[in-house]
């Protein structure tokens, strides 16, 4: 048996308590940590109850064959290069981003994404040769959509989907410097989805028109109205069939366009069917949709492929169900290599098929996407709601409340402690009494009072900074007096008495002797008031205008608008907390000293 002496026992016990305390510290800090952690998460991760960060999707967005090389582009910004015969990986590069798109020519790959901008990458070595930042700034990244990019001659044309923007950006091919910006003359809500070049024409597909531009002067030559198309994603792909015929892929069908007449020649609607890609092989048209592959004769609309996995409701088309039969995931695009088809699908799967009725004979897997740590959430928060304004209003109102309440409370509590004037006791009790009144009782009367004051004085104070500051000052003064009272009581009276003997009058005594000594307590109280004013919700609800909204109201509005965006909600919560947290952290020693002076004295 061990025998432990008193000191050992004491030490053991102490360490035990220390461990307990640190454990509790972790538990207690956890909510704050979780709030900040969640603000960096992807909203889908939060909604599906995932604790960590998930990975970006690496769906195949496009493939290209050049000689023996197969280039595969994925949604997370990856480029993978494979040998098409041996199917072996022969290199790759990754530029993290979203809404990725690419264009590939003889020597270079032009990669665009909506977060970082444009990249020019050497095709053989996969080394980034030049880059340009995203020309669209100041917009919530969630509002930026698909990018489109195309390169020809010595130009790179880039555009990005954004409501009301309707612009294309033209870059120098060599070093990606922005040369000019062309504004398209279209409606507010047209989205530019695809670009295509042929001859000396640049075709720009929006969800309402195909705009035909001169490819070097950028002058609009023709405009082809697509009629009513209510899938807002617009034109997915533009391809050319013959010299004067274009084929457009939209989510639910095809448009055939005669360029000579500049009009839609025919339109084939396949119902609800989000198509992703088409491939033209002579007469055959391969249409890829998430639910499968459909092969039709483009002139006769006759089907070539039949399989027993058809989705029954479509009588005129064939769907190969990639899920159960050929590949896994959703097919996103397709290219042909000699007599074989290569199907790209979600989750970065690439399948090689020779016989369309059999399973793919080979599959490749692209590398996994990057972890989605959404630092953008904060930028998005700022762009989505006028958080800058709320922050500004909160700082102004809380700051001035602090100032006025400090002055009022200092004077009143000094008077209360040092002078035993008639009414002293009643005043003290009334201060305590104000704390007992439920604030909800004030709500309407104060609003009416405000109206009354502005009627009488002609100065409108409802919905101004001044009005709210006034209320907050009046509300937080009583408790401040309560705190400061004990602080003043702890300052020895003898000092004042000796000053008085020296001939100071009452005010001088206060100003020169007591006030300097009381500064720590006053300031600590001030910070306390600041925190209280920062926290106030009920009055700010009704007494603010659109210009004077404070952070709590901003957060409420935000919660009302975005019921589900927990990521942004937590980011907003973090932004509301951080300023006061920082303030406290910087001043904690003094705050603690000032606030506890009363407790020490008792």
């Amino acid at each position: 048996m061990f025998k432990i002496n008193y000191y050992q026992k004491e030490k053991l016990l102490r360490n035990f308590f220390l461990v307990l305390m640190f454990a509790f510290l972790i538990i207690n800090s956890f909510p704050i940590f979780w709030m900040m952690f969640s603000s960096f998460k992807n909203n889908n991760d939060i909604l599906s109850g995932k604790v960590g960060f998930s990975r970006a999707k690496n769906d195949v967005i496009g493939m290209e064959i050049a000689g023996k090389d197969l280039y595969a582009f994925s949604q997370d910004g990856g480029i993978a290069k494979y040998d098409v015969d041996s199917k072996r990986s022969i290199g790759g590069v990754k530029i993290n981003g979203r809404d990725v798109n690419y264009y590939i020519d003889q020597d270079y790959i032009y990669l665009a994404n909506s977060t970082k901008g444009l990249y020019k990458i050497d095709r053989r070595s996969l080394i980034v040769k030049a880059k340009a930042s995203n020309p669209v700034t100041g917009v919530d990244t969630n509002r930026l959509g698909n990018t489109s990019i195309i390169a020809y001659d010595d130009l790179v044309v880039f555009t990005i989907e954004l409501e009301g923007m309707n612009k294309i950006f033209i870059y120098d091919k060599k070093d990606l410097t922005l040369k000019r910006t062309v504004r398209l003359n279209t409606e507010h809500s047209s989205f530019i989805r695809s670009l295509y070049v042929d001859g000396d024409k640049l075709y720009i597909g929006t969800n309402k028109y195909i705009l035909v531009f001169n490819k070097s002067t950028f002058i609009e030559e023709k405009r082809i109205d697509l009629g009513e198309n209510y899938y807002p994603a617009g034109v997915q792909k533009i391809k050319q069939i013959k010299g004067n015929e274009l084929i457009l892929l939209v989510q639910n069908g095809l448009y055939f366009i005669n360029l000579n007449k500049a009009e839609v020649e025919r339109r084939k609607d396949y119902g609800v069917n989000l198509f992703e890609d088409i491939l033209i092989e002579g007469e055959k048209l391969f249409i890829v949709s998430p639910t499968g592959l459909r092969i039709v004769n483009m002139n006769t609309e006759k089907l070539y492929l039949d399989s027993n996995n058809l989705v029954r409701e479509l009588k005129d088309g064939v769907i190969v169900d990639p899920k159960s039969n050929y590949t896994s995931g959703e097919a996103t695009n397709l290219i042909a290599n000699g007599d074989e088809l290569i199907i790209g699908s979600s989750y970065g799967r690439i399948s090689f098929m020779k016989d369309l009725k059999a399973k793919p004979y080979y599959s490749l897997q692209l590398p996994l996407g990057h972890r989605l740590v959404m630092v953008e959430n904060y930028a998005d928060l700022w762009k989505n709601i006028d958080f800058g304004l709320y922050l500004r209003n909160s700082i102004i109102i809380s700051g001035f409340t602090m100032l006025f309440a400090m002055i009022l409370a200092t004077l009143a509590s000094y008077a209360l402690v040092r002078f035993n004037f008639p009414g002293n006791k009643a005043f003290g009790v009334s201060i305590l009494a104000t704390q007992m009144i439920p604030q909800i009782m004030y709500l309407i009367p104060i609003f009416i009072m405000f109206k009354w004051i502005s009627d009488v004085s002609g100065v409108s104070i409802q919905g101004t900074h001044g009005g709210l500051t006034f209320i907050y000052t009046a509300f937080f003064v009583p408790f401040s007096i309560w705190i400061l009272r004990s602080f003043f009581a702890s300052i020895p009276v003898e000092l004042e008495e000796s000053a008085r003997v020296d001939g100071c009058n009452a005010f001088q005594v206060f100003w020169k002797i007591t006030l300097p000594l009381a500064i720590p307590g006053i300031v600590a109280t001030g910070i306390y008031i600041f925190l209280q004013a920062w926290d106030e919700l009920m009055f700010a609800w009704i007494l603010t205008d659109s210009d004077t909204l404070t952070i709590p109201i901003g957060i409420r509005l935000f919660v009302g608008n975005y019921q589900n965006r927990y990521d942004l909600m937590m980011a907003a919560a973090t932004v509301a907390t951080l300023p006061v947290l920082l303030l406290f952290f910087l001043l904690q020693k003094h705050i603690v000293k000032g606030l506890t002076a009363g407790a020490v004295k008792g």
Binding site: L47, Y230, R312, L443, F447, V523, I542, D547, G560, N564
Partner: protein, 450 residues
Amino acid sequence: MNKHFSLIIVSILLISASLLFTGCGAKEKKSGQTVVTMWVMPNSLEPINDLNNILEDFHKNNPDIKVQITSLDWGSAWQRITIATMSGEGPDILQLGTTWVGAVTGMGALADLTGKVKELGGASYFLPSSWRYSGIDGSNVVTSIPWFVDARAMYYRTDVFNRLGLSKNDLATWESFQKTLEKIKKADLTIDGKKVYPLGITGKNDWNVVHNLAPWIWMAGGDFLKENNKECSLYSTEAANGLSFLVNLVIKGYVPEACLEQNTSQVENAFNNGEYAIIFTGSNELRALTTPEEQGGAANTYVAKRFDIAPYPEGPKGKVTFVGGSNLSIFNKSKHKDEAWEVIKYLVGKKAQVEYSKRSGFLPSAIEAFDDPYFTQDVRRSVYREAVKYGRAYPCIPEWAQIEQPLNRRFGIMWEHVLSNKNEFSYDVIHEDVLKKAAIEVDKVLMMNR
């Protein structure tokens, strides 16, 4: 020691002061322009921007009117509107949820628009179900103009249905609906890595508990108030049948319990993410599922590519859906009533109606807007076109908003009860406990105001 301390305080004050004076206080207002203020709720993701975009044309045609929009959240809107009525200080134009129209009209806060509404073509210009909310039942005074309509329908997963060999017809009646749910439950599917539950409905923590239950009560033949709007008729076997049908779906395990804690948008989100085979919700869900993510939608989810819409399954007493939405009213104390009317007239015009529908996902209130290809050409949207025809609304009486409070509470407690003792919950509990108490409480409210 105090130096550094006071320094920070002084700098806080300086920052506040400088912010105050450098602030963007100046409002855009040209001389000679009339500013019309307008309060709206978050109907779309960017309430102010979206409305400003729609008003672009209006501002072009009426350069002397400037509409200034303030966005409120539904929670605080109650207070703001109440206090505005009380003090007479409010906006010129007010968005009101349809169920509030009776109450706010009753307060005498709204301007009489009876004469002006003729400019639009009168009642026949609007959907009958939403016109019901234009003024208090039984009076001909028009105080608010229907702006948009919210109707509910059933969303279901086509992939689940295809796999189980089910079709739209299997959702036609209550019986077949229940059988369908049973099938989906038995199949115990896991698709795209998610377990698919048969049905998703909301419980207590939603903001429209009553709206979600109303169609079931109506379809069973029950109603909230008697014909004369003076007495509650909830304590009836019909209403109990309707409610217990829905509650039984939960008890039988078609609805995951976690669902009952969530609100509508959470349930919609879970549906988009593949957790439920069927949900009942409004038309803004269709907009979400057909709008790309960058515009605030969910068109890129797995489910967005595999869903369809059907009307509510037909109950013993027919097919009914809840029709709500929002109206526009002019505040009684407004100094710019004519200008405000111009704004309202523009907003209920066909073009603005269709545009706003595209942005908010709600349905237009003007009948002619439904002729737009946006509604005629889309198979799924046309379900809603039908739904508004058999839609039903609450009576528009001043007491309605007050009645909703006890109902909200009572039904909220019912959901709590369902969750805590599933097994003891029966038809009798609904009839003798929930509905009886609810009826007594509603009667109390009605009696007090008589």
